[in-house]
């Protein structure tokens, strides 16, 4: 599998603050890649550089071999971007928003009409296509935003917190949509605060903290590095403590050694959130 995104020693400063420090990262063509990190870790800045919204101070970012700074216009034809906030024009209907996006990507009118019809059906929005944006539910708005980003058939789709603010059922439907897009050949780069979302969707995950990449691998690989079994010790005056073990036998032996009536001890499988907490020192919800 070849690399679609290559980030080489990327640095971006805002005044004296170093938002991203000599970041190196490669994202493979065809994968769903999750980019995790606490607030202020550099996720958004990295994404803004990749999507041509911000110029880097140094380093190089290329998408499909094209430099985002020197060949920005061609890069923009390869990428679709769904931002965390709703970027639809509220004064227009869903169909009109799609027409606007198609126009901005210079699609010809016949191709434009066919593609819009196809995507409206794909997203299950046929009954709502001519409604104004503000009367739609959050899930519909998000689906419409994703369809706008897909109009020009991008190879790479950036999803910034795609399910934030959505209820559990809508979130699951959104996950199905993301998987379907990926199986149709679109590489997905997503950031999320929902750790179970990264675990459920992503082939690989990168964790960034203080502007540097501190972990990279599949959710399983990252869990294996930490330990597949977690021991959670609650009720201690120091709050809940965690210990990680490569297998359940080791965890059980540990629990027998420290058994105390003052503590509630849980043995469970580790998860990506454990990896995140251990590496960054904070829970994802706090990030």
């Amino acid at each position: 599998m070849d690399d679609l995104i290559t980030i080489d020693r990327l640095t971006k400063n805002y005044g004296k603050v170093e938002a991203v420090k000599e970041l190196d990262l490669k994202v493979r063509r065809g994968e769903i890649f999750g980019f995790l990190g606490p607030n202020g870790a550099g996720k958004t800045t990295t994404m803004r550089v990749m999507t041509t919204l911000t110029k880097p101070n140094s380093g190089r970012v290329s998408i499909d071999g094209l430099d985002v700074v020197k060949e920005g216009e061609r890069v923009k034809e390869l990428i679709g971007v769904v931002q965390q906030h709703l970027s639809l024009d509220r004064d227009l209907s869903i169909r009109e928003n799609m027409v606007l996006h198609a126009r901005l990507h210079r699609m010809r009118s016949t191709e434009r009409e066919n593609r819009i019809r196809e995507l409206i059906e794909y997203a299950g929005l046929s009954e709502h296509a001519d409604k104004m944006v503000d009367v739609l539910s959050g899930g519909m708005k998000k689906r419409a935003t994703i369809m706008c980003a897909l109009l020009h058939r991008p190879q790479l789709l950036f999803l910034d917190e795609p399910t934030v603010g959505l209820d559990a059922q809508t979130r699951r439907r959104m996950w199905d949509l993301v998987r379907r897009l990926n199986s149709d050949g679109t590489t997905i780069f997503l950031t999320t605060h929902y750790i179970e979302e990264a675990q459920a969707l992503c082939d690989r995950v990168g964790i960034i903290d203080h502007g540097r990449l501190i972990a990279l691998g599949s959710p399983l690989e990252l869990r294996q590095k930490l330990g597949m079994v977690a021991v959670e010790m609650q009720g201690d005056n120091n709050g809940t403590r965690y210990q990680y073990f490569s297998d359940r036998a080791g965890a059980t032996r540990f629990v027998q050694d420290i058994a105390s009536q003052d503590q509630t001890i849980i043995i469970r499988e580790s998860n990506l959130e454990d990896v995140f907490v251990e590496l960054t020192g904070q829970k994802v919800g706090d990030a």
């Binding site: 999507t51 041509t52 919204l53 216009e73 970027s87 210079r106």
Partner: protein
């Protein structure tokens, strides 16, 4: 070239859709101030006055047209762009599309021009009815067009520079409001001291008022003012381009 024109139209397209749906309320809102100025200054204060040999009402109408070209074009270009950039963030969609920064700047400015021409057109119709001696010739139209374009580029630049809605309001109070009353809209600049006049000539609304009034009253046309107005527009266009190029790719 045809690509650029298509791109500019694409940027303008959503605004035209909005305008088509809400043209009446937009027009009515933008006419409140000029009509109040016309009534309060034209009829209230200056009913029997003459200025530079013409009735005050005939003198003031071209000034109000110039003023409307400034406020409506500036506001039309600046307000939506400011909200789209800072609040809805939907301006990012334009920046992430393959169309050029110049098409984005011109397209966004043309919204101000369209709104400015719409409002000024209504004032002109009223003005000709009130004061039939006003001349609406190609020079008048050219001056109005250049004025709308210059202030629209000014609006785009302001919307790209300010970083909060509060700053936009402050900008309006500190820059636009003084120009409204000082730039020869309601009085002849020959009445103010030489030093003050020199300062006022640096402001774009002064040049706009001079051009539009001279054309409307059939006076000697101040070509230098028209060139200055074109210069202001060019400065605001290039400043907007610089701001965009400095921050995004």
């Amino acid at each position: 070239m045809s690509n650029a024109i298509t791109d500019i139209y694409s940027v303008l397209w959503p605004e035209l859709r909005f305008l088509r749906r809400h043209w009446l309320s937009i027009l009515a809102t933008s006419l409140v101030s000029p009509v109040l100025y016309l009534v309060a200054f034209g009829y209230g204060l200056g009913n029997n006055l003459t200025v530079e040999g013409v009735s005050y009402i005939a003198f003031i109408i071209p000034g109000i047209v110039a003023l409307t070209s400034m406020t409506v074009s500036f506001g039309g270009a600046a307000m939506k762009l400011n909200v789209d950039r800072l609040y809805y963030k939907s301006f990012d969609e334009f920046l992430m599309s393959p169309i050029s920064h110049s098409s984005i700047v011109v397209g966004k400015a043309l919204l101000g021009v369209v709104r400015g021409l719409l409002s000024c057109g209504a004032i002109i119709v009223m003005g000709v009815f009130i004061s039939p001696q006003l001349i609406i010739d190609p020079l008048f139209i050219l001056s109005l067009l250049v004025s709308c374009l210059a202030f629209s580029f000014f609006g785009v630049f302001a919307a790209l520079v300010v970083n909060s809605h509060q700053s936009m309001s402050t900008f309006n109070s500190l820059v636009m409001l003084p120009m409204t009353f000082l730039c020869g809209t309601f009085f002849a600049l020959s009445q103010v001291p030489e030093a003050v006049r020199m300062v006022l000539y640096v402001l774009p609304l002064t040049q706009s008022s001079e051009c539009i009034r001279s054309a409307a009253l059939g006076e000697h046309f101040p070509w230098i003012s028209l060139i200055a107005l074109v210069g202001f527009g060019a400065i605001f266009y290039f400043a907007s381009m610089y701001k965009l190029k400095k921050s995004s790719i």
